[in-house]
């Protein structure tokens, strides 16, 4: 099946070439952590399987601003890669700088994918003005990690084996109070040294109140400012009451959770491998991860998506054979995303998440349904990971969640910073 498609592809695009040469595809990604190891394995597997036809030459660059400025500057002079990973949230900026090549309907057909292969919000996130610029590979939301042993001790594990009594802000705070009273050093560990990381939680809580972050000119539509302040206040109160450690950075929150000093932790799904590995070594308690409960009107979680994008290398004419090879890579990766799920990320391709193998994966299968009501970054050139929006959140929310400034004032400050962007 796969071979026949490939043969058809090659026949279609390589009519001018007499002999089939091995195609080399330059690949850039920003995956440095546990997911980077898994991506390397996928790339190796791909290269082995295609050793006569395609070879991926992969480089891993530093996540965030360094990666994106390198992509932007290198594509502008035609020195970019042939394929790269890209955050869906960064696509609007990339499109405004003509960094990305549009993915055509024919491309999608070649890869055997369509709109129906992905969750609505994920599909929407790779589009700008109705045009598709990337193929979603995963969705990576934040989730609530829990220490099952400690929660059970405080009576917070239900009959189904999952945390219970946490819906609604009052109940959730009561649960935190109970955990603290039961002798835990902290009840919950969320990153408080980094307001731009905390933004993921705050943004989720804003969405749970049906608040919204808009785009340029109208950043906080309606009463979103007040709702955002309320969301900030939630974490500020956790810190004030001693439920959550103050000014604590990312690695420390993970350490507090894994050492059993905090029975709950809000963090990205990418920490799942950390837990799985520790558990396998017998160094971890019973644990799980669930969708962040509805503290307000309904559940809603911040998410982003790792996607595959094709750079628009200025001055370089795209060789059809190369393009076909790139599409083959994306198609293959999408088909093999089950392994990617071990990194915690939720495969974007529904065919994978609906498979029996994925449904047997825990805790992945437990939190996977949250993609149906996730929220992505606002579609603005100023939004996305490591963006001015994240930066503004870091500046405004870091003091606010640690009780050094008032949440309402922090939101006003953030609005002023965003309004000044040009």
């Amino acid at each position: 099946m796969k071979l026949s498609i490939k043969a058809a592809l090659l026949a279609a695009v390589m009519f001018a070439t007499a002999a089939q040469a091995k195609e080399t595809v330059v690949w850039w990604d920003f995956l440095g952590g546990g997911d980077g190891v898994r991506m390397k394995k996928l790339i190796d597997d791909f290269n082995t399987e295609h050793k006569d036809s395609i070879e991926i030459q992969a480089s891993t660059l530093a996540w965030g601003t360094p990666f994106y400025s390198k992509v932007q500057t290198s594509t502008a002079v035609g020195q970019g890669p042939d394929i790269m990973t890209y955050h869906a949230s960064r696509i609007p900026l990339a499109v405004s700088e003509s960094t990305l090549t549009e993915i055509s309907a024919d491309d999608m057909k070649t890869m055997g994918l369509s709109k129906d292969s992905f969750a609505g919000a994920t599909w929407d996130a790779v589009h700008v003005d109705g045009k598709q610029y990337a193929v979603p590979f995963d969705t990576h939301p934040i989730v609530l990690y829990y220490n099952k042993d400690l929660l059970a001790k405080s009576g917070l594990i239900g009959a189904d084996g999952l945390p219970t009594g946490m819906t609604g802000l009052d109940n959730f705070d009561a649960a935190l109070k109970k955990l603290k009273a039961d002798g835990n050093q902290y009840s919950i560990a969320t990153v408080t040294a980094d307001g731009s990381f905390a933004f993921r939680t705050i943004y989720s809580l804003l969405c749970q109140q049906d608040g919204d972050i808009g785009t340029d000119g109208n950043w906080f539509p309606g009463d979103s400012s007040a709702k955002l302040a309320k969301a900030v206040q939630v974490i500020a109160d956790w810190v004030k009451n001693g439920y959550n450690p103050a000014k604590t950075d990312y690695p420390s929150t993970v350490a507090l959770f894994t050492s059993g000093k905090a029975p709950l932790m809000i963090n990205g799904v990418w920490e799942v491998p950390t837990m799985t590995d520790l558990k396998a070594q017998g160094k971890l308690f019973n644990w799980g991860a669930i969708e962040i409960p509805a503290l307000f009107a309904h559940t809603c979680t911040y998410e982003d998506s790792h996607t595959f994008a094709i750079p628009n290398n200025v001055g370089v004419t795209v060789d059809p054979a190369k393009h076909a090879a790139v599409l083959e890579i994306i198609k293959w990766m999408e088909g093999h995303a089950l392994f990617w799920a071990t990194a915690g990320h939720i495969p974007a391709n529904k065919a994978v998440t609906e498979s029996a193998e994925y449904k047997a994966m825990q805790p992945q299968a437990t939190y996977q349904p949250l993609v149906a009501h996730g929220v992505f970054d606002p579609k603005s050139i100023h939004a996305g990971v490591a963006s001015p929006l994240f930066d503004a959140a870091g500046n405004a929310f870091t003091p606010a969640i640690n009780g050094e400034s008032d949440p309402v004032a922090a939101v006003a400050e953030m609005k002023a910073t965003l309004d000044a962007l040009q």
Binding site: T65, T73, A76, P245, A246, T248, D249, P388, T398
Partner: protein
């Protein structure tokens, strides 16, 4: 031998030409381009529209720019003179040691200098971690509670300055040691015969003769510390970056994060002017004192 002055000049021109060409191409030309870019609203890559001095007007009313100038100045004050003084003190002590003891102590002081800034960052971030860092024990003893140095604005610059001195001191120590070895031993012997105390020898012989080295160290340090970026960027990342913004960091942020090439160039021109003015001024001031 008879020399033709004209041929001599020709040879001289030919010999300096490669330097002048490369200097012009790699330094003068980009500098002109930077000034030109600062008069446009261009992005990081690609052309922009000519907007005259608008960027400069904006810069002078920009609160974050002012903050960055202030923070840079504060950092310079915290590092240049204290750092040089510490290096001199260490060099004076190390120079009294002999043989392997001197080498050992010297390499201990020099070791941090060979580390890349990322390693320095990781070491100190680990030491000062608010939950698990071992430096929190003394901090909690003196302050009463653990303090996240990098997320408490008044602590930030002194913390960064301390680390910078620890990190970059080795080079200044080496310069001072070389200077100390250049002071003829006879001067001390003569002074001893005249009945000078050790304090007098320090103030009348060592320090005056070390003055050229001190000037050099201060100038190098001044230029280096005005361009402070890495440490502040690494430690502030994700937090209150605006409150601890320094000038180079602001240039980086505007260019690479906000894609504002024109405005970024404007701030770069401002920093360029400041560095030139200060290094010329400092050198002049120190030279006058030195020739007194």
């Amino acid at each position: 031998m008879l020399r033709n002055r004209r041929t001599e000049m020709m040879v001289a021109y030919i010999l300096v030409a490669p330097f002048v060409l490369i200097y012009g191409w790699m330094f003068i030309y980009p500098t002109i381009q930077m000034v030109r870019l600062s008069l446009t609203n261009g992005p990081l890559i690609g052309p922009g529209k000519w907007i005259g001095i608008k960027n400069y007007v904006r810069m002078f009313i920009d609160p974050v720019f002012r903050k960055s100038v202030w923070n840079t100045a504060y950092f310079v004050v915290l590092t240049v003179v204290p750092g040089t003084a510490v290096a001199m003190a260490i060099a004076l002590m190390v120079s009294r040691l002999r043989g392997w003891a001197q080498s050992l102590i010297l390499s201990a002081f020099f070791l941090p200098y060979v580390l890349p800034v990322t390693v320095v960052y990781l070491i100190w971030n680990w030491l000062t971690n608010v939950q698990f860092g071992i430096l929190q024990v003394p901090i909690a003893f003196f302050v009463g509670e653990p303090v996240n140095v990098w997320r408490t604005v008044p602590w930030f610059m002194p913390g960064a300055a301390l680390i910078t001195i620890w990190w970059t001191n080795g080079f200044s120590i080496l310069l001072f040691l070389a200077g100390l070895r250049n002071i003829p031993q006879e001067l001390y012997e003569a002074a001893a015969l005249d009945g000078a105390t050790r304090g007098q020898m320090l103030w009348r012989i060592t320090l005056p003769l070390l003055w050229p080295i001190t000037t050099l160290c201060l100038t190098i340090q001044l230029i280096l510390q005005m361009k402070i970026f890495d440490q502040v960027y690494l430690f502030a990342n994700g937090g209150q970056t605006q409150a601890t913004m320094v000038m180079v960091q602001y240039i980086y942020e505007q260019a690479f994060q906000k894609n504002a090439g024109g405005y970024s160039a404007t701030v770069a021109v401002a920093l360029f002017v400041v560095v030139v003015v200060f290094s010329v001024l400092q050198y002049q001031v120190l030279r006058i004192r030195g020739t007194r």
